[in-house]
């Protein structure tokens, strides 16, 4: 009978599972402390978009290697923060650049990692080409709002806007459709299939440069203030067991941020090929109003407060030090007395 064979394969699968899993399990890592002394190694996960420019610059200019000669950097590209979460659980990466919400989802589920650096503050937004859609209230049966994935920063910002305008963070979840940035941008510009797209640079810049496309939600307004679009995260193992590699990672990022801000022309030259854009457009995007490459994090606690209240995560970090390593904690600082400092306030929504 069918069932019999099905069961046999199930048992086989179980055996395979038990046999194969150790390779992927970080927790079973008593034997793991790699001989880091001879060849320091750093495995970095990145995604697509202008937010990852710091990594491209750091790679081309060998900024990580500058602080730790001989460092071997291994680059891995993923399609979403959720995929980076899985890569961390499987123990395949040491550090990553990702949105704060997917990082918090991983932190909530117990992935041993914290924020190692801010990366950038950028304008995000929801664009549409439909004349009859002026605000979030106007979405109706059949409309589709594209964002990269459930739980992505774009999804969470949309939820924040929905809470402000419609009273419930999940009011628009039924309209959501998961699409990669380039696919959704192409669909929006050709005005088919989707009604709106919540996205980040350079895709929102491309959309807004196309005729007939307007922004109806501004990410910064939805959040209430500036926020870090991306942060760098590092695993506990990297921070505690390989402090030199960790330091090279953080300092290399700082150098890259300063390089892009101070020499945008040179940065555009480096970045243009990897974005498949010409230098002038790259420069225009890098210097678009609202762009800021900075290692200072913005809005760390604002995201976690919202995500706990809306039920996306269960555990609330009590302070920045719960979710950030010491170099970040010290950047934010702690003002003694009644009034918190500007940088401390910056971590919360107003």
């Amino acid at each position: 009978m069918k069932l019999y064979r099905l069961l046999a394969s199930l048992v086989l699968a179980a055996i395979l599972l038990t046999a194969c899993a150790p390779a992927a399990a970080p927790a079973a890592s008593d034997a793991a402390p790699a001989p880091a002394a001879d060849a320091p190694k750093l495995r970095i996960a990145e995604q697509f978009g202008l937010g990852y420019a710091m990594l491209t610059v750091a790679r081309e200019q060998k900024m990580f290697e500058k602080y730790l000669p001989g460092l071997q950097v291994e680059w891995q590209t993923y399609g979403s923060g959720g995929a980076i979460n899985e890569a961390f659980v499987a123990g395949q990466v040491d550090a990553a650049i990702m949105g704060i919400p997917p990082f918090l989802i991983g932190w909530d589920k117990g992935i041993p990692w914290k924020v190692a650096s801010g990366v950038c503050v950028m304008p995000l937004g929801l664009q549409t080409y439909k004349d009859d859609i002026q605000s979030l209230k106007d979405f109706k049966e059949g409309d589709k709002i594209a964002y990269p994935a459930p739980g992505s920063i774009q999804h969470i910002l949309l939820s924040m806007a929905a809470e402000k305008e419609l009273g419930s963070p999940t009011a628009l979840d039924d309209f959501g459709v998961a699409m990669a940035h380039p696919d959704a941008a192409a669909a929006l510009i050709s005005q088919k299939d989707i009604s709106a797209h919540f996205t980040s640079p350079p895709y929102n810049f491309q959309e807004l440069s196309a005729p007939g496309i307007r922004q109806i939600v501004d990410g910064t307004q939805a959040f209430g203030s500036d926020f870090s679009f991306l942060v760098a995260v590092a695993s506990k193992d990297l921070y505690e067991k390989n402090p030199q590699v960790y330091a090279a990672f953080v300092l290399g990022l700082s150098d890259a941020a300063a390089f892009i801000n101070e020499q945008p022309e040179a940065a555009a030259k480096i970045l243009a090929p990897s974005f498949k854009l010409d230098e002038a457009t790259t420069l225009k995007y890098l210097t678009w109003p609202g762009m800021n490459y900075t290692t200072t994090p913005y809005g760390l606690m604002g995201f976690s407060d919202f995500m706990v209240n809306a039920g996306y995560i269960k555990n609330a970090p009590k302070s920045v030090s719960d979710i950030a390593w010491y170099n970040v904690v010290s950047t934010v600082g702690e003002m003694q007395g009644e009034t918190p400092s500007a940088l401390e306030k910056l971590q919360y929504r107003p």
Binding site: M1, L6, A8, T18, I105, V177, K192
Partner: protein, 266 residues
């Protein structure tokens, strides 16, 4: 004293025992904490996730939507293949055309068509139904046509002799005679459609409202809800078992086995 038939000889008993053994091994591995629970959740948390998503209505709604899609896909697919086969039985030229179409399309996995589907139908319901129809229509045509072709001359002549003509001849002689083939086609179609559906929902066409079990898994994945992913997988397995070992086995017993057309296992 009469000797009781050994329980161990009972197929069902043995199968249930294997399932229980598998679950026990799973639970031991999970509870031993060799792997972090994010990778290998224990049965209690999976069951809890299943109960929670059922209670909130989400699991029921997603399952229902998946079944609706598959019924649409199967229905349209069956209709197309029967019409095509009917035409092929009438016209030799059309039969050649159909066989060529089957030869070209049958080896194409539905999921491979997704990029094109996205362009033609967009990411909604009809895109997924198109993929389902594709996975149903070719094996169904192949098997139904082979079935009708295999009906023996003698049976047809007997039918004609007792005065059956046209549609009556088809329904009373040809369909029953070809039924083992049609049945196999149906089983293959279901299996292919069910697998394509879940894959298609996970790769594209995944959206908040138009989303079935594949979308549920996709969503749970992004919130690192491993027990939730396993709960949805459990429902998929359950439906597969109910349809393949329940529905199809019953259908088989009532038709081809009763008619003495297949050899049954004791």
């Amino acid at each position: 004293m009469k000797k009781k038939p050994s329980l161990w000889k009972n197929h069902t008993f043995r199968q249930v025992l294997f399932v229980l053994a598998f679950l026990a091994i799973w639970e031991i591995v999970a509870l031993s904490k060799i792997y972090p629970p994010l990778l290998f959740p224990d049965l209690v948390s999976i069951l809890k996730a299943l109960v929670e998503s059922t209670a909130s209505g989400e699991m029921v709604q997603r399952t229902w939507y998946s079944l609706y899609l598959i019924l649409m896909g199967l229905g349209i697919g069956l209709l197309i293949s029967f019409v095509m086969v009917a035409l092929a039985m009438v016209s030799d030229i059309f039969a050649d055309f159909m066989e060529a179409m089957v030869a070209i399309n049958h080896p194409l996995p539905g999921v491979a068509l997704l990029p094109i589907t996205l362009l033609w139908f967009g990411s909604g319901e009809w895109g997924i139904i198109f993929v389902l129809v594709h996975s149903v229509v070719w094996p169904m045509m192949l098997n139904t046509y082979a079935g009708f072709r295999s009906v023996s001359r003698t049976q047809l002549e007997v039918g004609r002799n007792i005065g059956l003509r046209g549609l009556r001849l088809v329904t009373s002689v040809m369909v029953p005679a070809a039924f083992p083939y049609i049945f196999t086609g149906l089983k293959i179609s279901w299996a292919r459609a069910w697998r394509s559906l879940v894959a298609a929902e996970m790769i594209f066409g995944a959206s908040g409202k138009d989303g079935g079990l594949g979308w549920l898994i996709y969503q749970r994945r992004f919130f690192l809800d491993t027990p939730g992913v396993f709960a949805a997988l459990g429902v998929i397995i359950l439906i597969g078992i109910v349809v393949e070992s329940g529905l199809f086995t019953q259908l088989e017993k009532r038709t081809v086995q009763r008619w003495g057309m297949v050899v049954t296992r004791s």
